[in-house]
């Protein structure tokens, strides 16, 4: 099909193909690197220990487990999504019929702007404003805790979730809304019982993408979650995520057992996000068909 392309089209074609191959190779290289660096763990039987043992690198008999970080990552991401998702559905519903049209558009513009704020700014603002507030709640603790990270991260992933749902509703809403309204529904009824159910696949996609973004985030957790290597017993406990753990340990002596725990953390994160993106692909595919 591409046999008779003019010269510059052919060039563009080659460039695009080259870029695609390059990206593919880089992705493969990352997988390969993670597998090679975790190989001793996977084959040496150390994987079980690294999942179960506590993180006590400086104890008399040191142990280097990342179980507490896995729990912290899961708790933080799940709670952030649980908070951000209903909010996001609210924002999208407001913009697609429940609220005044102009205000809705303005709100979407604000959300769009939120995506362009660097993560470090969220972290910085949280350290300066949110941490002292949480500390003074009266529940004890330093303010650097799971709750602070959940609130900050919810803000961070809200735009992702909103924009994914909004993109789908932009296609669906005009015709479905009109049908609903013609049947005598209020805009809220039409949205809740017709439009949102029709967009449920993209709601799930948005949920999974929000979770991916939350579990992959490093800076917010590193700056406000406190980074204590313990499984949280309360929202006000200091916790360390897998990503923050990688960032904190990366600069250690590269032959130490502490350093090797990074590969395990990276492998876990990689497997998790890979699995989740497969889920997204499935969901997306079904929604389109």
């Amino acid at each position: 099909m591409m046999r008779r392309l003019p010269g510059h089209d052919l060039l563009l074609n080659r460039l695009a193909a080259g870029a695609a191959v390059l990206v593919g190779l880089v992705a493969l290289a990352i997988v390969g690197f993670i597998l090679i660096s975790t190989w001793p763990l996977l084959t040496g039987g150390g994987l079980g220990r690294i999942l179960i043992e506590p993180w006590r690198p400086f104890a008399a008999s040191p142990s280097f487990g990342i179980g507490a970080m896995i729990i912290a990552s899961a708790a933080l991401s799940a709670l952030a999504v649980a908070l951000a998702f209903p909010l996001a559905v609210g924002v999208v519903s407001f913009a697609h019929g429940i609220g005044p049209r102009r205000l809705g558009r303005a709100m979407l513009a604000v959300v769009q702007f939120m995506t362009s704020i660097p993560t470090v700014v969220y972290g910085f603002v949280a350290v300066m404003l949110l941490v002292p507030q949480i500390r003074q709640l009266g529940g004890g603790g330093t303010g650097y805790c799971l709750l602070t990270a959940v609130l900050t991260l919810a803000m961070l992933i809200l735009p992702t979730i909103v924009l994914v749902i909004h993109a789908r509703l932009d296609q669906l809403a005009p015709s479905l809304m009109g049908t609903g309204l013609a049947l005598g529904m209020t805009p809220a009824q039409a949205l809740l019982s017709v439009v949102l159910p029709a967009a449920r696949r993209s709601l799930s996609t948005a949920l999974v993408l929000g979770f991916c973004r939350a579990i992959g985030d490093t800076l917010v957790a590193l700056m406000v979650a406190g980074n204590a290597p313990q499984a949280p017993a309360s929202l006000l406990d200091s916790v360390r995520t897998l990503t923050a753990h990688i960032a904190l340990v990366l600069a250690t002596d590269s032959f130490s057992p502490a350093y090797r725990s990074i590969s395990a953390a990276a492998l876990l994160l990689f497997l998790l996000t890979a699995a989740l993106s497969l889920v997204v692909r499935r969901l997306d595919g079904r929604d389109r068909s």
């Binding site: 650097y144 204590a228 290597p229 406990d237 990366l250 590269s254 032959f255």
Partner: protein, 288 residues
């Protein structure tokens, strides 16, 4: 926090480039001759790459700049990365000098065959919020506080408030010396918050009236208060004279036989000119 390190790295890289560009312009000029410590660089040429601990950068840059101004045939690059990166890079032969804010581990020393060159002393001290009434702590009190055995400031003569612990990351040279020499390898409570830099520690402790943490002496200012340890006030002078015991050395590390340029650089930094750079950067020169 980590981004600050990146920004540093970017600045250093830029600065090095600017310096290099400057050198290019003056290549035609004859090499200046002099009798000072810089005369060791007369007749030398080539490049010297340095990477590692971020605490070292101001000293390395000052030395590099004066050397390259003296002899434009020499090119010196200074990069950051942290102590671990410094050791790794010099060990793998990627740089000539790898800086670290800690002594080498036995493993690193034997695996790579590295040699260490200390050139500065840096103290580390416990810090609290300036409003905290605790002005002095014994070593035992400090260890109990960090272990979590003493959980309220009132037990050590302070206000009735829960102690908020802050410690540093696993890779921190500051943590290593504080843990070894102030806490005598005692436990640090698992629930203690972990921050990734001296700057982040300062922000955390300065913002929390009940906080307890520790910083490098170079970071001590009016935002923080350093309680006396076992009756010894925390001052640069006490640290320099060894009266205050919690100090670490900053090291340059090299591998194998030194080139004449590397040797000259190390002599320069450990010599009188280097001592001035060390003081200007807020650290203490090595005792003579």
């Amino acid at each position: 926090m980590r981004s600050r390190r990146l920004v540093m790295l970017a600045i250093v890289t830029l600065a090095s480039l600017v310096l290099l560009a400057g050198c290019g312009d003056r290549k035609a000029e004859p090499t200046a001759r002099s009798t000072g410590p810089l005369s060791a660089f007369d007749g030398l040429s080539g490049s010297l790459d340095i990477a590692g601990g971020t605490a070292h950068i101001p000293v390395m840059n000052a030395a590099a700049q004066s050397i390259m101004e003296h002899n434009p045939q020499i090119r010196i690059t200074v990069a950051g990365g942290g102590s671990g990166v410094g050791v790794q890079k010099v060990g793998e032969g990627l740089v000539h000098i790898g800086n670290a804010g800690r002594a080498l581990s036995d493993d690193e020393r034997t695996r790579y065959g590295l040699q260490s060159w200390p050139f500065a002393v840096d103290g580390v001290c416990a810090v609290v919020h300036p409003d905290n009434s605790v002005g002095a702590l014994s070593g035992d009190q400090l260890r109990d506080l960090f272990a979590g055995a003493v959980a309220n400031w009132s037990e050590v003569g302070g206000p009735d408030a829960a102690v908020h612990l802050f410690t540093r990351d696993e890779a921190s040279g500051t943590r290593k010396v504080f843990w070894k020499k102030a806490l005598q390898k005692g436990d640090i409570a698992v629930g203690a918050n972990v921050v990734a830099s001296n700057g982040a520690m300062k922000t955390a402790v300065a913002g929390d009236p009940a906080a307890l943490g520790y910083v490098s002496l170079g970071h001590l200012d009016a935002q923080l208060k350093a309680p006396a340890l076992d009756g010894v006030d925390v001052t640069q002078d006490h640290a320099a004279r060894g009266v205050y015991p919690v100090v670490r050395k900053l090291y340059m590390n090299t591998r194998g036989e030194l080139s004449p340029l590397t040797q000259a650089f190390i002599d320069y930094v450990t010599g009188p000119a280097g001592r001035e750079f060390v003081q200007a950067a807020g650290y203490l020169p090595m005792p003579e």
